[in-house]
Subunit: 271 residues, 2 copies
């Protein structure tokens, strides 16, 4: 069953020129790898839009290198473009939609550049290019406004089209000896009240990096930015790591103040 | 030394008609009691302005009764008077100043009423009335905008004038067999972002009552209202009572949701 899906995935890319919208996460890594091994030409593109941690971008680069994937990082920090960030801030509920829309139009620009390049390449007699992403079948059942935006730009989702569930993706990655990367998530979702700014994103990034390493946290963990307060969310299994030990709490508190938060609080609704 | 101060305090009230601005707390309770035992006439007035818990007002009534203090509760719920609450909300930094100002002008009205009453009382040949409060000498060194307002209305602070420190007050209360009441504090200070409303004050009041009894908390403890979030502040010695026990936390979380908070968080800066 899985092997059948795998075969269909390989066939999906055969004889095609493929741009992969690649974040470095488990889904798009698998897509980029299988495309890279089977398509005529593959270019994985990571758009560094300022909403992901530096670590996350660096990891995407490392993983592409490790699996010999042709890769490019495009810098498009939304917070440097007033028309983008003000659109997102004006309608925070739909930020994922706008975000993906700007990513999609950037991918289209890259597609046009690649087209010109392929036209000049006389060995390549098929200049059609498809853009694909890592959206899987399970994702379709969640309310993901980003999917809508990608659809509007005719970006394909092979994993979804071929009914790959999250489990299928994990299993196929294992079969192909691809590491299962830890999930990196969008830092913009950490900012609970508008506006989203570079400063706030940097604050949650620094706070999460500090606390993950200080308490050695492995599972679900988030620092949210709510007005000037840092709200820590953690999972049931690791709450004990806080120890509610005065020395620990004091260090955390001081570090968060140093980062710029006025107050640091713990969400007692454990995940 | 203390006995000397006590003597001066008794002398302060001798032959006077006294209105005591009486909250039921340790300071104003001592003032009301000593005045009651030594002045020509004493009336302790508690202004129920909606910023103190029902418990707090009930306790003030009980204590006055217990110590035979002539007492009256004046209802002036600020939140029922648009001109008051909007003034306070428009300048939250100075809310204590405005609050005390409205209390002071209410006390002046009561003074005029009392004056008319005393004028009709032929046995009373001295109709001068002073208004006093429980401000002590230590309070003067804190930035208390309320003191400024009371000064403007010529309200006297015998404990401050006679150099009573907080310790003196505790010691004299013990000497006079007066209970040392637990400190009741203003619920308006729990509301961190404007506006202060009846609903928000009721929410923190309910949340504090629930948690104090659920966890059996005795020391420093506050629930603050910050946007729709409840921020719990607790002291180092009693943080263990939270246990970080999933069942406990779930009950707390559900109770706070029921009270109307969207989220319940714990300030890790222990007091």
């Amino acid at each position: 069953m899985l092997m059948e899906k795998y075969k269909r995935l390989k066939d999906y890319f055969k004889r095609k020129n493929v741009i992969v919208s690649y974040s470095g996460g488990v889904d798009s890594l698998l897509v980029a790898k299988v495309s890279s091994d089977n398509a005529k030409y593959t270019l994985a593109i990571t758009i560094d839009n300022g909403f992901f941690s530096e670590n996350s971008i660096n990891n995407a680069v490392k993983r592409a290198k490790k699996y010999n994937i042709n890769h490019k990082v495009v810098k498009l920090n939304y917070m440097d473009y007033n028309y983008i960030i003000s659109k997102i801030n004006s309608d925070l509920k739909n930020r994922c939609y706008y975000c993906k829309k700007y990513m999609a139009s950037e991918l289209l620009k890259e597609k046009n550049k690649l087209k010109r390049k392929l036209n000049n390449d006389t060995d390549n007699n098929n200049n059609n290019i498809i853009i694909v992403d890592g959206t899987n079948y399970d994702d379709l059942f969640e309310d993901r406004p980003g999917i809508k935006a990608y659809n509007e730009y005719n970006i394909k989702s092979p994993l979804a089209e071929l009914n790959f569930s999250k489990d299928d993706i994990i299993n196929l990655s294992k079969y192909l000896n691809i590491d299962i990367p830890k999930k990196d998530t969008c830092l913009a979702t950490r900012v609970l009240n508008p506006p989203i700014t570079k400063e706030k994103i940097k604050m949650v990034e620094r706070a999460e990096e500090f606390l993950v390493s200080f308490l050695d946290i492995e599972g679900y963990f988030r620092v949210r930015h709510f007005y000037d307060i840092a709200i820590i969310e953690i999972n049931k299994e690791e709450i004990y790591k806080f120890k509610m030990d005065m020395d620990n709490l004091k260090i955390i508190n001081e570090q968060f103040k140093e980062i710029g938060f006025k107050k640091c609080v713990l969400d007692i609704n454990l995940k």
